[in-house]
């Protein structure tokens, strides 16, 4: 009985992540959660990395050189893509949650994701250009 209940809970929990044969609305919802979880992991990683500042220049400055390497810059671009997708999709979720633009959700989502794509390319050029 307990195992059945746990299994049912797990199915319900995983429901939001299963986008197979689902509409674009579910894709948008899942995308928001997946990027949100990624950004949460990044937030705490970032805070851990910043603890090196407590060790002064001897600890921090060698990391700065590493952070300017192409691999780190590529990770920065992925991070920026996550922000843009989550942020712009979040604006859509907020608007529709408050009752605005519910009938044009699909075009709103497509348009905002297009902006996220263009924004990522532009920011990527800026990151590697700096």
């Amino acid at each position: 009985m307990a195992t059945q209940l746990q299994s049912s809970r797990l199915r319900r929990t995983a429901q939001w992540a299963d986008v197979r044969r689902r509409g674009m609305g579910m894709w948008a919802y899942t995308l928001n959660r997946v990027t949100g979880i990624g950004l949460l992991v990044y937030l705490y990683l970032h805070l851990v990395v910043l603890s090196m500042l407590a060790g002064g220049p001897d600890m921090w400055d060698p990391f700065v050189n590493l952070a300017r390497s192409p691999l780190f810059l590529a990770l920065d671009v992925i991070l920026i893509a996550g922000w843009l997708i989550h942020g712009l999709n979040g604006i859509r979720v907020t608007l529709t949650g408050l009752g605005f633009g519910t009938r044009s959700q699909k075009s709103l989502f497509v348009g905002l994701m297009l902006i996220a794509g263009i924004g990522t390319v532009v920011m990527g050029i800026m990151v590697f250009g700096s």
């Binding site: 929990t13 609305g25 805070l47 002064g56």
Partner: protein, 121 residues
């Protein structure tokens, strides 16, 4: 397109806070990125640069506000995902309290780190 908003009742207080912090984050993250990365040489400051940056009390205030806002937004998101497990009312209260403690500890850590850096200036 499935309209998920029509499947939900009126927005909850937690949902409204998440939306509000989300809007705030657009401004605070943009400020953080511009001041900490885009105008910094090489995209990231060395220790002397960070220390110099933190000499301005307005900057410290804005960075702490950013930390409080991003932590609240992130943990409200975790709460939302955990509540989808179909928790009992008691478990929901426990989760909310635990996340509040995590949030307080996160902000306290940020304040300690800022204080530690400014002490080395």
């Amino acid at each position: 397109m499935e309209d998920l908003s029509e499947q939900k009742p009126a927005p909850t207080t937690a949902w409204l806070w998440q939306a509000l912090t989300g809007v705030g984050l657009i401004v605070l993250l943009a400020l953080h990125m511009m001041t900490q990365h885009f105008i910094a040489e090489g995209g990231i400051r060395d220790f002397a640069g960070v220390a110099d940056y933190l000499r301005n009390p307005i900057v410290v205030l804005l960075e702490l506000l950013f930390l409080v806002t991003v932590t609240a937004h992130a943990l409200l998101g975790v709460r939302s995902i955990l509540f989808d497990l179909g928790l009992s009312a008691r478990a929901e209260t426990t989760v909310s309290r635990a996340l509040l403690v995590v949030g307080i500890l996160t902000v306290a850590y940020g304040m300690w780190l800022t204080w530690t850096i400014t002490q080395q200036i």
